[in-house]
Amino acid sequence: EVLIKATPIAKKIAKEQGIDLALVTGTGPGGRIVEKDVLDFIERQKAERAK
């Protein structure tokens, strides 16, 4: 079982934007997913969709 560690704000944004945190790579201490990771993920998704 993998426990996904994310900051509160990362979780909140992911929830609102319908993002599966399992797909996001965490860059915080101990691999914690931080706000920037989620925002970067959203940007990348947008860029890919644009292609």
């Binding site: 900051t7 509160p8 704000i9 990362a10 909140k12 944004i13 609102e16 931080v34 706000e35």
Partner: protein, 464 residues
């Protein structure tokens, strides 16, 4: 492991030296005066000893409400100065012991660069040349001398001088209403000296949230401190044993203030003049050594940390930068993160702040929700007899991410760490609101302010 020379033994330098030694570097530290730097010898620590004395004195008055009445007491400035010196010595001796235990080679003398790999160190014994693979510059700062006529007058003091005076002044004019000026105002006023503060900008503590700064202004005024904002000291003259100080107000009005002493607390300048930075090719900008996010200067083997590079001019920032630089010298690639830097002002009550003010957010175009809670509604503040102050939490409107926390109240400087921890872990107001905070503590006011962001404080009456 590469060998490292750290120049300057203040909090930036000694922390860098110890961290590098922990990581296996061969470390030498050059210090021109005393290890501990400004912070331990003539900054943070001595001022806090004196401020505690002022606090103890004000407790005599407060004690009356709690049943104690002090019928007669005496005050001996010399005893207080000895206490300050003893505390400073205990801490600087401690730093020397730490450096020794980690095998840091401490060399006393003034360093200047010959080239990017070599320095000369001058001291009483003469001059020696030292080579090193890498350098961390941590030479700090010193009081700046504003362009005022009459600075040479007797009893015109810098913050360095004022910590050495032989008796407590009966009156003092302080030039500068920033953190240092306001702490000295608190301290001397608390010890019975009549204090006037002259600040050039339209408000004191201009880096702090305006609502909190104006609350502090009020409190200082109520304690009998005279504050002139939007005002400039233009001339100092001696008259008898006093100084007559000309103050020009932006409003056009010109006044003179008589005071026994004048304290210059109008900013600090970096200590870089003696370093011969050009020999090493290190670039500066308006006196500050230019560094990147790795704390590296434009010269790859030379780093800089603390007041000589960083606009924060705070000991804890110097230490954090020192740690980062040391790790990078030892082969790391760590970036300095300034996102959560607390600022504390040891007024009475204390003021502490982290992150953005309401105005910062407004200027940045970020819509915010603000939660406030007054100390008068906090049980702990009341039992301590210190009901002045408030907590203010600034959160973004959309996700309620905590962007700033501002605390005026008892032990604010300790409580701010909770806000820092929350912000460091990217908390929203909800996480602070849901925290179970011990009762009775001032921390409950922080929780209530966070609840108030969500419009649901428990200990505030229903609005409207």
């Amino acid at each position: 492991m590469a060998d490292l020379t750290v120049i300057g033994g203040g909090p930036g330098g000694y922390v860098a030296a110890i961290r590098a030694a922990q990581l296996g570097c061969n470390v030498r530290l050059i210090e021109g005066e005393k290890v501990g730097g400004t912070c331990l010898n003539r900054g943070c620590i001595p001022t806090k000893v004196l401020l505690h004395a002022a606090e103890l004195k004000s407790n005599f008055d407060m004690a009356r409400d709690y049943g104690f009445s002090v019928k007669e007491s005496t005050f001996d400035w010399k005893v207080l100065m000895d206490r300050k010196d003893a505390t400073v010595k205990q801490l600087t001796d401690g730093v020397a012991t730490l450096l020794e235990s980690w095998g840091v080679d401490v060399v006393y003398g003034e360093a200047s660069f010959v080239n990017s790999k070599e320095i000369v160190v001058k001291n009483g014994n003469g001059t020696s040349t030292l080579k090193s693979d890498s350098f961390i510059i941590a030479t700090g700062s010193k009081p700046s001398m504003p362009p005022i006529e009459g600075l040479q007058c007797r009893n015109v003091l810098t913050s360095d001088d004022v910590l050495q005076i032989q008796e407590i002044p009966s009156s003092m004019l302080i030039v500068g209403g920033g953190v240092i000026g306001i702490e000295f105002a608190t301290l001397f006023s608390g010890l019975g000296c009549h204090v006037t503060v002259v600040e050039f900008l339209p408000r004191i503590l201009s880096n702090i949230d305006e609502e909190m700064a104006s609350y502090v202004h009020e409190i200082l005024s109520s304690k009998g401190i005279t504050i002139h904002v939007a005002a400039k000291v233009t001339k100092i003259e001696e008259r008898g044993s006093s100084l007559v100080v000309s103050v020009q107000k932006m409003s056009g009005e010109n006044i003179t203030v008589e005071a026994g002493h004048l304290l210059l607390a109008a900013g600090r300048v970096t200590n870089t003049q003696t370093l011969n930075l050009t020999n090493a090719g290190v670039e500066t900008e308006r006196g500050r050594i230019k560094t990147d996010k790795f704390m590296r200067t434009n010269v790859p083997n030379i780093y800089a940390v603390g007041d000589c590079t960083s606009p924060y001019m705070l000991a804890h920032v110097a230490m954090a930068e020192g740690e980062i630089a040391a790790e990078n010298v030892a082969g790391g690639m760590r970036e300095m993160d300034y996102s959560v830097v607390p600022a504390c002002i040891f007024t009475s009550p204390e003021l502490a702040s982290v992150g953005m003010s309401e105005l910062d957010c407004q200027k940045a175009g970020i819509p915010v929700k603000v939660g406030r809670f007054p100390m008068v509604g906090n049980g702990r503040a009341l039992t301590l007899g210190e009901a002045e102050g408030m907590v203010k939490v600034v959160a973004d409107s959309r996700y309620e991410k905590v962007l700033g926390v501002h605390i005026l109240g008892p032990n604010a400087t300790e409580l701010i760490s909770t806000a820092c921890m929350a912000m460091k872990l990217e908390a929203t107001a909800e996480e602070i609101a849901q925290l179970i905070v011990a009762h009775p503590t001032v921390g409950e006011a922080l929780k209530e302010a966070a609840l108030s962001v969500q419009g649901r404080a428990i200990h505030l009456p229903k609005e409207g």
